[in-house]
């Protein structure tokens, strides 16, 4: 096991103003590898920012331990940890120029002037801001401020770069280009990036691994592909991407193909190795796995379109599949085709292959 940055049974409680307490981190254990891009993904209040603050040293853990290559960080204050943070609002010092901002960490470490100038120049070049050194932060665009914040951290050659929702303040276009840039930057500097975000697309597109957090616990830690295709539980299935989840009991098994019967009596054929007859299980069907036309071996569900939403590249159809269920279907939009056919009230048949369904354990099925 890679013993780079290890978080063991981290627990952190917060007092609420009303006098109660909230478990912001609940026994979190996470092993972070060197030189990886890992995202902490979750809804607000899931504990991801708290975890980042504990790693950075701005907050203490109540229980548990964080170690870096085997050494405990508990007694080491934030300013002595070899980590640097890119803050959500960048936290650029408004009274210092871009150059002084980037030089700040070297200044306080009394790095000799020549080397300081060289490293600041390098760092600014790295983020594509050479020549902006004399500007004040408020003269820069949001994206440029973002880069200064990154340069300011990277110039110190930290072992880990912590990024606290750094892209949330940018507009969509800028966000997408910064995603690519950050990823390639991580590649070229070769250090660990821990990236906190609530945006699943961001997490999936940039990361080597994603840790999905909810209510202070790690729900799943895996590669983006695994997270999407094989969510470990209902929360992950729902939070990452859109899922049509059918809860039921396995009533028959034939090879890898299970027959799942839902409480409403619907029977679905799904493929899995893990479950046996009598088990509770949930079938997760992604909208793109439900097709409006199919082949012979596909299974079919009949339904009626209740709502169709045009989002540009595709149509999102909400289909009433009977027995009180609505399923979401994504349909590729082709110019010139007869979309009207899928307007509200249209009867459709949804096809899926049992292999496309992912079966997970169900809580309280």
């Amino acid at each position: 096991m890679d013993g780079f940055l290890q978080i063991r049974s981290a627990t952190k409680m917060y007092r609420t103003p009303e006098g109660g307490s909230i478990r912001a981190l609940d026994d979190v254990t996470l092993h972070i590898r060197s030189n990886e891009f890992i995202s902490l993904l979750g809804p607000s209040g899931c504990g991801k920012t708290t975890l980042l603050k504990c790693i950075a040293g701005f907050e203490d853990l109540d229980h548990g331990d964080i170690t870096l290559t085997g050494q405990s960080l508990t007694r080491i204050p934030a300013h002595r940890r070899p980590f640097n943070t890119v803050f959500q609002n960048y936290a650029l010092f408004p009274h210092l120029t871009v150059e002084r901002n980037v030089a700040y960490g070297l200044d306080v470490a009394h790095v000799e002037r020549k080397e300081r100038t060289r490293r600041v120049g390098e760092a600014l070049e790295q983020v594509g801001l050479a020549g902006f050194g004399a500007r004040m932060p408020n003269q820069l665009s949001g994206g440029q401020q973002q880069r200064v914040a990154v340069a300011r951290s990277l110039v110190l050659k930290p072992k880990v770069l912590l990024l606290d929702e750094p892209l949330s303040a940018l507009d969509r276009k800028m966000r997408e280009s910064m995603q690519i840039e950050l990823k390639s930057l991580q590649h070229s500097v070769g250090i660990t990036f821990i990236f906190v975000t609530h945006d699943q697309e961001e997490a999936l597109s940039m990361s080597d691994r994603v840790a999905v957090l909810a209510s202070g616990k790690v729900q799943q830690l895996a590669s983006p592909k695994e997270i999407y295709d094989e969510p470990q539980n209902e929360f992950v299935a729902n939070f990452v991407g859109t899922s049509n989840i059918f809860k039921g009991k396995v009533i028959a098994k034939e090879g890898r193909t299970l027959t799942l019967k839902t409480a409403n009596g619907r029977e679905l054929a799904v493929a899995s190795d893990r479950f046996g007859v009598g088990d509770d299980a949930c079938a997760v069907l992604r909208p793109e796995h439900l097709k409006l036309s199919g082949e012979a071996r596909d299974r079919a569900i009949k339904g009626t379109v209740t709502q169709s939403v045009f989002v540009g590249s595709e149509m999102h159809l909400h289909v009433d599949v009977g027995l009180g269920r609505t399923a979401v279907v994504r349909h590729r939009h082709n110019k010139g085709s007869t979309e009207a056919a899928y307007g509200p009230g249209a009867d459709v048949t949804l096809y899926y292959t049992p292999e496309a369904a992912h079966v997970i354990e169900c809580k309280g099925a």
């Binding site: 409680m13 040293g57 701005f58 907050e59 203490d60 109540d62 508990t74 080491i76 204050p77 934030a78």
Partner: protein
């Protein structure tokens, strides 16, 4: 829950270090003196100043005119003086309010550098020495002063006009000294008044007077109330203005306190008088505080 981590204990150390100086200062030179004052108000005055350590509630009895012994009669002179102080303080609040309220709208209606300049001009006298400002009214109001001389030279009056040493002169002086305290909170409120509400009211058919009464006044009420409280309190306890502009004719509680301490040397009675004023301060501010926290609570909900 105990926070045991390194960051927490470091933070606690810094917190204590930063708060200690002012806490000690306020504890020793503010809270303890106020506490001693409370104790003094229940002690017997010494013959030549100072106190005798005897339980002596008569300081408060004297406030309402209770006779100390058989030779005295019930005489609520101190109560009358206190009521007069209340009256002067209330008139001062009314005066500053009437002056400042329209002025706040006047300044708020301006724009750009002109506004900054006028705001600067209004704020500046705030910093002028209080004595000098009172002194100016001595020059204006006395019989050989500016107003009297001016009126005489125009033939409007024949005899010199003595405006000094009346409740009026005291109120004028107080209004002059305390106007900034009223103006600033009202202005702060008027400045952030959303004029689209005023337009909406007009649009819905309200007259100017109705709009003022139903929209503008309620919206600027916090400034009016805040300003009134911070004018009322210094007016009630003031002794410099009445002693200079009121002379021996206008007595306020502040003058009584001053004399108890520096002339008659009856410290316990002076302390009792001061506590009477403090009682008003405490009541007014707790009302204001609870009103504020209530409206804050509504804001966050």
């Amino acid at each position: 829950m105990a926070e045991t981590g390194a960051t927490a204990s470091r933070n606690r150390r810094t917190l204590i270090l930063l708060l200690a100086p002012l806490t000690i200062l306020l504890g020793v030179f503010f809270l303890i003196p106020l506490g001693i004052m409370v104790v003094y108000s229940f002690l017997e005055p010494g013959l030549y100043g100072g106190v005798e350590w005897n339980w002596y509630p008569y300081n408060y009895g004297r406030l309402i005119g209770w006779p100390l012994n058989d030779y005295e009669v019930f005489d609520p002179i101190y109560l009358k003086i206190f009521l007069n102080s209340l009256q002067i303080a209330l008139m001062t609040v009314a005066g500053t309010l009437l002056l400042s309220y329209p002025a706040a709208f006047w300044v708020a209606s301006m724009k750009g550098p002109r506004k900054s300049l006028v705001l600067f001009l209004v704020a500046l006298p705030f910093f002028a020495n209080m004595l000098v400002r009172i002194y100016a009214w001595l020059l204006l109001l006395r019989p050989t002063g500016f107003l009297s001389t001016l009126l005489e030279s125009t033939g409007l009056i024949i005899e010199p006009l003595d405006l000094l040493f009346t409740n009026f002169s005291v109120i004028v002086g107080m209004v002059y000294v305390l106007t900034p305290f009223m103006f600033l909170p009202i202005y702060a409120n008027v400045e952030k008044l959303d004029y689209s509400l005023v337009r909406a009211s007009r649009d819905l058919g309200a007259t100017n007077v109705q709009t003022l009464w139903r929209i503008i006044l309620p919206l600027t009420a916090p400034g009016i109330i805040g300003g009134s409280v911070i004018v009322f309190i210094p007016a009630l306890g003031n002794f410099i203005v009445p002693s200079l502009l009121g002379g021996s004719k206008v007595q306020m509680t502040g003058n009584l306190i001053e004399r108890s301490f520096l002339q008659s040397r009856d410290w316990p009675f002076g302390a009792a008088l001061a506590l009477l004023i403090m009682a008003f301060v405490v009541v007014l501010f707790s009302l204001q505080f609870s009103r504020q926290s209530k409206s804050e609570g509504q804001g966050t909900r």
